[in-house]
Symmetry: C3
Subunit: 173 residues, 3 copies
């Protein structure tokens, strides 16, 4: 069975995570939160803890910064999983000096094989001025390619701006 | 009576101010321009003077960089007010080291209590690469929260891209 | 005869070029690729060569970084031309210290006078944090003004996000 995949796009602090959590809550299914962030400093720790408090106790949380395949393969068809977020995951791979094309292909395969309904949150990072440094430009390109691949695979793509959804592909349930 | 609130979102030089001024002009009501910019250098002075010339003499201009409450409370139900812009206002509070959560809450209260129709212009700043410095990241977060709060309160939310409107909430008059 | 003009907007790596090429391919007309990029380093050379390979042999390629007028004036009504992209063209003029207002006006005149159908690709660069340096801010303003002018002139304006089109003006064929 091919499970449905949803992609939620938005800028930083656009309300995309809150919107995604509402979407997942509305399924009424057991909820899994697949957290990709690595906590390096107090600023990030604070964000992670705020997010956990906001979600409440009805979520199972899995933390996995790099290889999402094993976690996704263990999900069952009655579950819904929120991957938050693809941008942090890509950033972890960039820092780990992974082959970004392989990482992207592997993620797409894992999403295709996953039996649960999956909602992936991802950032738009390409609408500012060209960054000064080559690493940021490389990241911008890789994020763009990842978003294009996820959007092509997804049944539903929603762009969130100031907390408001705009459907780019498919239809909101 | 609860007055209608409109939020106009857009990037830098997206045509959001020109679009907002046309929207305000189309009401046929006495127009108040609530300017939030502080002029620090020639680059900003030039922009302010260009904007005043573009608006023409049919506008009353009020300059207030920080506390918009008093100005908004003096407006009457027959007026329409353009707040240009929430991003500059937020930036002024950041530089003044204000409590940004309190400033946002106070602004929302003042908008709710205002008797005039209000159009607020605000920037989208979260769709580039993560900024290097912590102050810029803090601003990005605060701008996001402000836009989400304004959008939740507004009857009409319009995103302007290359001068073209896209309605995210409500309906254009 | 007034030819139709299409503007394709999008962030970096948003899929806007691929979408534009499909749009041009779908016309069934002889295709001209008007490339505006100047190759300064290996990173850019790689991008140019990847793009040429992706387009395939059915395209005539013209390289012109600054004055697009002569190339546009030689096109005929049976042709379709993809200008890729207006952002690189503007950047070339900024580096050449051209009068940007004059360059924009000249480009608009050349597009108006051109007999072929033209699709112009352009970037959105104004949705990040305000850049540190004055040149980047100047570019952001000039890019905004250019996009507004092109959008006002165009019959069709499409914003591409993660490879997905959103029509801002007109109608997709």
């Amino acid at each position: 069975m091919y499970p449905s995949l949803t992609l939620i796009l938005g800028g930083a602090a656009s309300g995309k995570s809150a919107f995604s959590e509402q979407l997942v809550d509305s399924t009424g299914k057991p909820r899994v939160y697949l957290a990709t962030s690595q906590v390096f400093d107090d600023e990030m720790r604070l964000k992670v803890e705020q997010h956990i408090m906001q979600r409440g106790p009805d979520w199972t949380t899995i933390e996995e910064p790099l290889d999402l395949g094993p976690a996704l393969s263990e999900l069952t068809a009655d579950q819904v999983c929120l991957v938050d977020c693809a941008t942090m995951w890509l950033s972890n791979h960039l820092l780990a000096e992974s082959d970004l094309d392989k990482a992207r292909t592997d993620l797409l395969t894992a999403l295709r094989d996953c039996e649960a309904q999956v909602v992936v949150v991802s950032n738009e990072v390409g609408q500012g001025i060209v960054p000064d440094n080559a690493l940021a430009r490389k990241f911008r390109e890789a994020q763009g390619r990842l978003n294009i691949a996820l959007a092509a695979e997804a049944d539903l793509v929603v762009q969130v701006t100031a907390g408001l959804p705009l459907v780019l592909k498919g239809q909101l349930p």
